[in-house]
């Protein structure tokens, strides 16, 4: 293909490489520019060490979540986006229900995308901070294994933090 004549006038511009990411949960495939996908340190390491084939399988991340991740990476790979633009775009991506956000934080952690991990964690923290403990337990699938006495003792240990909290 190096000899293809139509490439001549674009000779100075390197050809855009793409990667295909495939969700192993529902087999959805996404074709992404390489520089967009490389914002994931995990993918970058695979590419750098030549472990990446034509299709990169992404375990445990659904297509729905992968689409969000790619949207984030596209926004942040755009050199002309201003800080304000990115902030707005990020806010849009994390305007989701809490369970989607937890899926997203797991995806950001697995793919090692620091910025996405941070905005998603911040959003989760903002949404749980004023909730009653029982609601937070449900969100994180936590079973309260304290006896009532133990729970009271833990509260008493840091009573200053629980002041005015039911």
């Amino acid at each position: 293909m190096a000899s293809a004549p139509e490439n001549e006038k674009n000779a100075s511009a390197p050809e855009k490489k793409t990667l295909t990411l495939k969700s192993m949960i529902n087999n959805e495939e996404f074709v992404v520019d390489e520089h967009v996908a490389l914002q994931s340190v995990t993918i970058k390491n695979m590419v750098d060490s030549d472990c990446a084939g034509d299709v990169i399988p992404v375990p445990t991340i659904s297509g729905e979540i992968l689409a969000l991740v790619i949207e984030y990476c596209k926004n942040h790979a755009n050199p002309s986006a201003s800080e304000d633009d990115l902030k707005k775009a990020d806010a849009g991506i994390v305007a989701k229900d809490i369970y989607t956000l937890i899926d997203l934080v797991l995806a950001a952690n697995f793919l090692d995308i620091k910025g996405l991990l941070e905005v998603t964690s911040q959003k989760i923290a903002d949404s749980i901070k004023d909730l009653p403990h029982q609601d937070v337990r449900e969100i994180f699938g936590v079973e309260n294994d304290y006896t009532p006495e133990e729970e009271a003792a833990v509260r008493a240990e840091h009573d200053w933090a629980f002041e005015g909290f039911p």
Binding site: T60, Y99, I102, D103, V105, I124, D126, K129, F162
Partner: protein, 471 residues
């Protein structure tokens, strides 16, 4: 979300390191509260990278001093326990607020230990506040009656520290040579002689944000920088030799203090300016100085001005409006008493901001009104009070949102609101927040203010789509 995988699988992936990342984004107090969720969560918060040790969590200012002293001790005990059990190699934010001017004069070595802990954990944002919350910010005296805390020296160069805030904390300027990554600096309640400030700026070449609050012995602020984007000068009342700013990339400029000599150049990138001279106790014909300052920030989008500005600007030669106008201003904030003596100033800004979209009127009757102002301007023909109507371009065309805070329904407030309602066809939203303060006899007035606000709903409006909200 019926199809959603809120299932065991998802929860099993929520490992402790991920939970700790989420906990780190909670306010510190809420992070501590997660200890009660389950046994597994009990100590996870010890990994939060946002540490906020504030004596206000422990100390009740209304208690007498012996109880406060016990509370301060438990605060120190808690802090020491935290650094003993802390489970992470790094800290993102470390805030320590402990007033030194109260007994017990806690062991300085305890504080030293806390600070060393933060530094040795490569803290990115360090915030040390040893001031006393009861100190009077408005007072003109420059001296705090206590010894200031002495910041310990850093052992090595520190390329992690990006943001540093020191309140009521002495430091050695030479230390700043060690901070290779410092972008944001905030100093307050500290003696800062002009010469120290100058050498400080020479050491901090990467600063993007600088805030000076209640710094004394500082006679002038002279800044030339390509990087600085935010500059705040708050109640530094010894600035006799003025403020010189040559900062082409400055985006936010906030000044609160007496009127001083300002020299500003090339503020072409400025987005937000807050000019507050509310601290002035005397009326002066400073109109031209203030006008010049407004000219310097002419391209702002968000402009906040004070009651003093509103009373004094009519004494400028350029009155009644800016030439060229402040075309960029979209949002204007008036810190006002809405006293009749401010009306000419308000008109000046309405007429000078032809593209204004949002007007915030922050009413506080305690703002200082100067009876001597306005000798040459009378109110009989002012548009708020008379039938000689002058409608400004912004009111006629662009003004969409009016926010009124601290509404009490006094006549001087009502005439301004009436004017905006009668002549503002583009208005979409007006929000009226009633004053919360008690009446002169200590009685609750909120309900009666609210009733006054409801009368506004019946006023004639030029806009057909206006929505008025009363809070």
């Amino acid at each position: 979300m019926p199809h959603h995988n809120k299932n065991i699988d998802m929860f099993s992936q929520l490992t402790n390191p991920i939970i700790i990342i989420i906990i780190s984004f909670l306010p510190f107090k809420d992070a501590v509260k997660t200890s009660v969720l389950s046994k597994r969560w009990r100590h996870l918060w010890y990994g939060t990278t946002t540490i906020d040790l504030d004596q206000a969590f422990f100390v009740d200012p209304n208690e007498d001093s012996s109880i406060r002293s016990v509370q301060r001790n438990s605060f120190i005990e808690f802090s020491k326990r935290l650094i003993q059990y802390y489970s992470r190699p790094t800290i993102a934010k470390f805030h320590l607020a402990f007033s030194l001017s109260e007994p017990p004069q806690s062991n300085v070595t305890d504080l030293q230990e806390l600070i060393h802990f933060a530094i040795s954990h490569k803290v990115k944002a360090l915030d040390l506040d040893f001031s006393n919350p009861t100190w009077d910010e408005q007072s003109h005296t420059h001296h705090c009656p206590v010894e200031l805390y002495e910041l310990p020296d850093w052992a090595d160069d520190d390329d992690d520290l990006e943001s540093l805030k020191l309140f009521s904390c002495n430091f050695r300027v030479s230390e700043f040579n060690k901070f290779g990554a410092l972008k944001s600096l905030s100093l307050g309640w500290v003696k800062l002689p002009t010469s120290s400030f100058k050498s400080l700026l020479l050491s901090c070449v990467f600063l993007e944000s600088l805030s000076l609050k209640k710094c004394w012995d500082l006679e002038s602020v002279e800044i030339r920088s390509q990087r600085l984007m935010t500059l705040v000068i708050d109640k530094c009342s010894s600035l006799e030799n003025g403020v010189v700013i040559d900062v082409p990339n400055l985006r936010v400029f906030k000044y609160c203090g007496p009127v001083v000599y300002f020299v500003t150049e090339y503020l072409n990138g400025i987005v937000e300016a807050d000019l507050d001279f509310g601290i002035e106790v005397e009326f002066n014909e400073h109109g031209d100085v203030l006008h010049q300052l407004l000219m310097d920030v002419w391209c702002v989008r968000i402009l906040s001005v004070c009651s003093y500005m509103l009373q004094v600007i009519p004494s400028s030669e350029e009155y009644p409006s800016m030439k060229p106008p402040l075309n960029g201003v979209k949002h204007m904030i008036l810190k006002t008493a809405l006293h009749a003596h401010e009306y000419h100033g308000i008109s000046f800004f309405l007429s000078s901001c032809p593209n204004l979209e949002t007007l915030t009127i922050d009413i506080d009757p305690a703002r200082r009104i100067f009876p001597e102002r306005g000798t040459h301007l009378n109110l009989y023909e002012h548009e708020f009070l008379s039938k000689y109507i002058m409608v400004y371009r912004c009111v006629e065309r662009s003004l969409k949102v009016v926010e009124i805070k601290g509404f009490k329904g006094a006549i001087n407030e009502v005439v301004v609101i009436n004017y905006l309602l009668s002549y503002g066809p583009a208005l979409e939203r007006m929000s009226i927040t009633v004053a919360k303060e008690l009446g002169p006899g200590g009685q609750h007035m909120e309900e009666s203010y609210r009733q006054q606000a409801h009368k506004i709903l019946k006023f004639r409006r030029a806009s057909k789509t206006l929505n008025i909200m009363i809070n």
